[in-house]
Amino acid sequence: MTVAQGIFYLIAALAVAGGLGVVLMRSTVYAALFLFLALLAVAGIYILLASEFLALVQVLIYGGAVTVLLLFALMLTRASDLPETMVGAQWPIAAFVSLLLMGLLIATVATSNWPGDADGQITRLFFNELGDALFRRWAVPFEIASLVLLVALVGAIILARQEEGE
């Protein structure tokens, strides 16, 4: 096992552990913390895949903003006060279906010939290239994304804000 492999398996294990925590932890706050772990692990994966920028974004936005937001939400909804029963009633069938799905996905991964998998080189994308892409070629999605954010912002404000008489 090479170092890279070792790192990969470690990160992968962390990610999976985080995932497991999210879906299995009885305490909602712990689950949120496990999510944070998983997100960080994914950032690690991005670094392994030579996308440092992405890893940065992942940590900042996901690990920071999103997780905090989620924790806030958990608190605002006082969900933490009521230790949730671990799983819903449909967990056996859910487990079965999820395992099946996982099996199918792994089978897919295993049996397919991914066309990019040719030269054994990881293609690195530099920041400037990324920026160029984002603002030139992908300008339209970028603009749309800004509209998405606008909508989310407006929506969140409208929905969440307290009205008179509330």
């Binding site: 819903g88 449909q90 069938i93 859910a94 279906v97 999820s98 099946l100 799905l101 199918l104 089978a107």
Partner: protein
């Protein structure tokens, strides 16, 4: 005015009908004069036709098979050509004379009889339509027109029997008559179509010719003949279709005289006579006719003995007579049948009109309420007696001669002959009974009898004329009379030209029949005039038999039972089946099933979000599994 113009005969009264229906209420006297004028014209016009016919006969002799004239009515590709046409030969002429004359008499009679009726105009319209259809029926040169007229005759019968529609019994009787005859008509229609199927024509003469040429398959011919006979039996009230005729007496009496005595009911006889060659081609055909006629005649004779309604007795006598005519046809003596038909028309019409006079005068028709009318209504009494004894077969009246011819015809068939002889005294007996109970003895309801009087002129004249004819028409059996009237070879030779046939007067037979008739009359006299308590004692002594007779052999009850228990019950079962099985189960059921599926399915919408997500994942997994399976 030749034979080919004979179409005018039915058209005149038909026109009168149309005018009466459309404009009747606006015409003076509701248009009765128009109806009478039309039928009178038809009657008068028969004479030039007879003249034309006799000259044609004289010219062509035996070759002459009749004159035809037809126009196309409807042509359908596939060898279906429907024509309207007339065919005139001797047999037709007899019917024409009888039909138009009796109709004329009856209509004149009705001027007085029906006066004041709320549907006077309609009555004359229907009478005209009847006359038109009857004339068309006898003139028809093809089965289709015959059937056409046949049905119209049935319709008129329905309308006229039900003339007093406010009476439940009249409505029921009309219905019964129509439905019963219609059952027979089913046979007739099928027969017509079957014959067409093998010959490609509806022409009566063509069909007969084809049959004689062997172009019709035997089984088809047999079936057709039986079915034809069915039609004839229905119309001519042969057993077991006879039940409608006595009930038909619910109609106004002149109607009974015209339709249920003189004309319509003999249509069946006419039909069989017309198609007799077909019957003769079928093994057992004539015998079947004979058997039915005999049975009918014999059974109905006894019923006359116990009935108390004056018209009903005459009605059973009509059935009796019709049976006789069938017997004549069955034994191969169509000429005798036609002769009987000819004479019967007059005396039976006479009887009915006489009965009508009685009813008109007394407003009673149960003989138990009558009696002692002889002195009050001498003309009616005399003419009625003439009719009654003619029916009974008293010598030298019309009925005697005709009946004698039938007996002669049946001479070779011992069984038939003996049965016929046996029925004679019975007939005589009940006719005597009827006459005695109505006219002789004490008035059972003096109030009624006191006001009775002879009928007015319009009613008396037809009575007198018909009585006169009853006295003399029988004489046409003698060749001399026929020749004197201008028919070469007498009436018999005239009717069936193919095999000229002269009426035979057999003294032995005549004597025997006369004796039997006399016996019957005397017995009747003894039983009802001399020892009036005798019939009651006999009735008590033979109670089961009497009960059976009074109940008309329970046939009506039997039919009623069949209708109630089988037909109506069956139809109710079917209706139930239709409603509950086909509709509620089949139709509504499938709708409900669909709805229920929806009901079951709607519960997939549990309202719980995880279930929704699960459904999506299951969808994905299922699709993927199938996809993978398909790929590998």
């Amino acid at each position: 005015m030749g034979m080919t113009d004979a179409w005018l005969l039915p058209v005149l009264p038909a026109g009168a009908f149309a005018v009466l229906v459309l404009f009747g209420p606006y015409l003076p006297r509701r248009g009765d004069w128009l109806a009478i004028a039309a039928i009178f014209a038809s009657f008068v016009l028969t004479f030039p036709i007879i003249a034309d016919l006799t000259s044609a006969l004289a010219e062509h002799g035996e070759e002459f098979v009749g004159a035809a004239n037809s126009i196309p009515w409807l042509e359908v590709p596939g060898n279906l050509e429907l024509r309207l046409g007339v065919h005139v030969d001797a047999i037709t002429v007899v019917m024409l004379v009888v039909g138009s004359f009796v109709a004329l008499m009856v209509q004149v009679y009705s001027l007085s009889y029906m006066r004041g009726d709320s549907r006077y105009g309609w009555y004359y319209a229907a009478m005209s339509l009847f006359a038109a259809s009857m004339l068309a029926l006898v003139l028809a040169d093809n089965f289709l027109l015959l059937y056409f007229a046949w049905e119209l005759v049935g319709l008129c019968s329905y309308l006229l029997i039900g003339h007093y529609s406010h009476l439940r019994s009249a409505a029921e009787a009309a219905k019964k008559a129509f439905i019963t005859t219609r059952l027979g008509d089913v046979g007739l229609l099928i027969a017509i179509i079957l014959l067409w199927r093998d010959t490609g024509t509806f022409g009566i003469q063509e069909v007969i010719a084809a049959a004689q040429a062997g172009e019709i398959r035997t089984e088809v011919l047999t079936a057709s003949v039986v079915l034809l006979l069915l039609g004839a039996m229905g119309k001519s009230a042969q057993f077991p279709f006879h039940v409608w005729l006595p009930d038909a007496m619910e109609g106004p009496t002149p109607v009974s005289a015209l339709i249920h005595a003189a004309t319509m009911v003999v249509a069946g006889v006419y039909l069989v006579a017309r198609t007799l060659p077909l019957f003769e081609l079928v093994a057992g055909g004539p015998e079947l006719v004979l058997a039915i006629g005999l049975f009918t005649a014999f059974l109905s004779a006894f019923l006359g003995l116990v009935m108390t309604d004056i018209k009903r007795v005459i009605a059973y006598s009509t059935i009796n007579s019709l049976g006789l005519m069938f017997v004549a046809l069955g034994v191969g003596a169509p000429a005798a049948a036609m002769l009987y038909l000819f004479t019967h028309a007059f005396f039976k019409a006479l009887l009915f009109l006489g009965a009508g006079s009685v009813i008109h005068a007394t407003e009673r028709q149960d003989v138990n309420q009558l009696g002692g009318l002889w002195s009050k209504m001498p003309l009616t009494g005399v003419t009625f007696a003439v009719g009654a004894f003619s029916m009974a077969g008293l010598p030298f009246l019309a009925g005697f001669w005709a009946k004698d011819e039938i007996l002669v015809g049946a001479l070779e068939n011992r069984v038939a002959f003996s049965f016929l002889l046996l029925s004679l005294p019975v007939t005589a007996m009940y006719m005597t009974r009827l006459f005695i109970l109505t006219f002789l003895g004490q008035a059972r309801e003096p109030e009624v009898a006191k006001h009775a009087h002879d009928a007015p002129l319009a009613m008396s004249v037809p009575l007198a004329l018909l009585a006169l004819l009853t006295l003399v028409t029988g004489l046409v059996v003698f060749d001399q009379v026929g020749r004197a009237l201008g028919f070469p070879g007498g009436i018999g030779e005239l009717i069936f030209l193919g095999e000229p046939e002269v009426f035979h007067f057999d003294t032995g037979v005549a004597a025997a029949s006369s004796e039997l008739v006399a016996l019957g009359i005397i017995a009747g006299w003894f039983a009802w005039a001399v020892r009036p308590e005798l019939p009651q004692r006999a009735a008590q002594a033979f109670r089961p038999i009497h009960a059976m007779l009074v109940n008309k052999y329970y046939l009506d009850d039997f039919y009623q039972a069949i209708i109630d228990r089988v037909v109506l019950a069956g139809s109710r079962v079917l209706a139930w089946f239709d409603r509950n099985v086909v509709n509620d189960t089949g139709v509504d059921g499938s709708a409900l099933t669909t709805g229920f599926m929806g009901y079951l399915l709607k519960f997939q919408q549990t309202g719980k979000l995880p279930n929704y997500a699960l459904a999506m994942v299951i969808g994905v997994v299922a699709l993927a599994l199938v996809a993978f399976t398909l790929k590998t």
